[in-house]
Symmetry: D2
């Protein structure tokens, strides 16, 4: 019996095995580094990288990651994630709950385009081929056949030109010149933009998702982490809006003022069938 | 060592001890009942009662609970819980996630008044006293001093008279006549309504939270379960609206159409201090 | 300007259009029925059907739905949804929040097999063909090629025979005899079970997801509603366990007692590179 | 009618008024700063401050905030927030959903002690008095009477001495010497530690919540933002663990391996009363 117990105990312990953090009384090791050696000496983006990648970035890599994190924090209360967090704060729940309800909706459509764009870039890169433009034409053709004509990372329903793209792309170019990154994905991103113009005859410029996908790909993050990093960034906006809303002390804030009724298009008034 | 393991193992097993469900290969016991003896023989409200209370209700108790569950399923898309679930479905997440984001906001303000009203009724009942009206005047006086003048369960920001109250109260009265419940809380609820009229000089009639609080209290549920039961009921509305929304295939639905801008009242355009 | 306002206003109103519920001061109409005509007269499963389908079921249809709702409420604290809700209650959040965190994880793997099984049944039905067994062999062959060898709704990692299946299937058969349903999906489900035995040489019997998929399909629900209905059912278990946990007044309950450490398999202790 | 429409439209627009972000086609202003002037020029902690406070911090203030954000990212899978996110990833949901379920439980007990400690410090500061130790003795006495003997921010159920405290406190002292902060809250925190030793006769040292409460208070954040900032920090750990778990491709991970059963302490097997 006790042998079984030992084996079960070992299995239970291993059930929660991790390579991230090692904790003993008085000691916390993060990816092997004693926490007290990190505090005050590495930046928050360094820590994000260390936790998710297992090792520390160079300062230049970290700065590029940081720029992407800074750029994506908010896009206003028309975004469901932000509106939901604001509404949530008027329902008698706490900041953590309101943030959870908002972050939760950063799904495939609202939070996924960066990840999907990274997958597209990776597919283009893997396709190889001598001639990047014709490779991209082919990959895009297949992509549209599979997923429809919305290309993640390109075009914006609101901004003709997304003001966050140029400064971020300039930072990637600078990092490429300095050998921090190799510039492969910046080239791919620009060629996708060109291919979309060829394909459609109009400008469908790179947007925030497309340019952060360039950065995260250049830095070696896998596509799903594109969503993860976006969530860390957008959480700042969700927190700021939830907090601002909480200062207004409104109660049960609906999507529109209650004086503005919605339309009803269901069946007209009817009664239960008495024979039912 | 192996003795320690045995003790640790026992502790680990007991860590998740429950009185609700017992599972062995091929056997599922719910509060002692083999599941196959319950299926097809008890109602869904019976099962809700059995799971949360530990024993089965009488048929009459179950019918009264069922009426309350039927009454609270929905109050339209102006309710944040419903609007959030609808918005969530346009963000590329699944029904379970959309329901979670909606249910999550049924907090103290949006989902708590039923529970709070049950606490008020319980306080009135515990206060005892020969004369119910004067007991209530005193308890309400203290309640307002502590919590402000909104009395949970009474008054409605939209309905002058809540159409769900009369039929539910009639069912409680009928159950009291038949000895299913004793009617104490129905009397308390009606006297609170009378006291509020005395106190304010105007009608602040019982609402859906006040009447379901009567029912749940008559049936012996503790106040926090008032919120729990409301959540089970409102989940139906959240599901129905999330599903209806999903059939429209909209993407990233904000609180208002994007052509209708919000106002911005923050600082005017400014630049970084170059000396920072 | 005011014409524009009128148009914008109309668009804003229509933004939240619904066919489910119509609300005016003192009046609540659910799918056309005044709420006061429903309370006390229809069952909770009737209301679930009305809200999600738009019309009322017959009593026999409703009873069959109810049996499925009763059967799926709980499978104990080894299920992540239940364990999460219990852990959540020890963290200082409310029932609505704990339920949300639990319901949220009823995703494709934990809450999706019922839906996936309904899709499989629908694919088999749509495939038609004179001979059901050979149709199923072909569809299963393609299914395994696409999704791998786990067939949603069949086999159980814990129960050799799921005790919930036989009583539910008996109810479907009875309903088919009485003309309430036509029995198509019960036949498909049984033939899938037979096909899996032919295919693998061993018994991979129908489980709770497979049999509720039969019921929901017989009743005409679309596959995604299979997940939705399962959530309504499992919410009862999530609530019951969250409530039971809350009565123990534990604080910050981890997955195992804190005396049982987890293993750490990351890098050994290291220091920051001083030249970084 | 159209006048009404204009008024309703204005009200609808103002419903989502914000001072945080101003968006027009091609333009995004964050607290008045054009986003393109911020990208690459401010740090992520700067952006967190700007978004939540309305203005930019000095570089020294930002560094102190950053140290606190770095320190709190993770405390291993025994923490419910981390364990929940890991379990969630095995249920077929995405990173955003898993993070939401984890963040959601950072409630009063699991995520609130920092905020509560800030409230305690603020109460001590507001109490004023010539003699800080005796003020603290009095405030603590009242605090214990109200809330019980657990003092948020002091003592740790696992670490005799929390290794994160000394380096953070050293950074506060350095900032105080340089006039970045005034050191009031560092003094209060240390005196609370001394008072607890006087009060109980044993060491109940400051923990991570107590020292980040010092930092956030020194920097002028209101108490609820203590929870908000902690969430931003812990989100990094939640993401890292969710991501690590996803790489293991486990399915439906319960709190313990399924071979380790839980105990059941409910009623023994029983049958339905046939006369019910």
């Amino acid at each position: 019996m006790s042998d079984d117990s030992q084996a079960q105990m070992d299995k239970a312990r291993a059930w929660w095995d991790t390579q991230i953090i090692d904790i003993h009384p008085g000691k916390i090791g993060v990816r092997g580094y004693p926490i007290q050696e990190l505090i005050g000496r590495i930046t928050f983006p360094d820590m994000i990288w260390l936790m998710t990648r297992g090792d520390l970035p160079s300062r230049a890599q970290s700065k590029l990651l940081e720029a992407a994190l800074v750029a994506s924090v908010d896009h206003g209360p028309h975004a469901p994630s932000i509106a939901i967090a604001r509404m949530a704060m008027t329902c008698g729940i706490d900041l953590n709950n309101a943030m959870a309800s908002g972050i939760n909706v950063l799904g495939d459509i609202h939070g996924g385009p960066g990840q999907q764009c990274m997958e597209l870039y990776a597919e283009i890169r893997a396709a190889g081929g001598e001639d990047l433009p014709s490779t991209i034409d082919r990959v895009l053709h297949e992509f549209v056949a599979r997923h429809g004509k919305i290309i993640p990372g390109f075009g914006h329903r609101f901004h003709p030109i997304d003001p966050r793209v140029a400064p971020l792309l300039a930072l990637v170019d600078e990092a490429a010149r300095e050998g921090v990154v190799n510039g492969t994905y910046a080239a791919i991103g620009r060629e996708v933009e060109a291919a979309l113009r060829r394909r459609t005859g109009k400008a469908i410029p790179m947007n925030i998702d497309g340019v952060t996908a360039v950065i995260f790909s250049e830095l070696g993050f896998p596509p799903p982490m594109g969503r993860g990093l976006f969530i860390l960034s957008r959480s700042v906006g969700i927190l700021a809006h939830a907090w601002e809303q909480s200062q207004r002390h409104e109660r049960i804030k609906g999507p529109m003022p209650k004086e503005i009724p919605y339309t009803y298009s269901g069946p007209e008034r009817r009664s239960l069938d008495p024979d039912r």
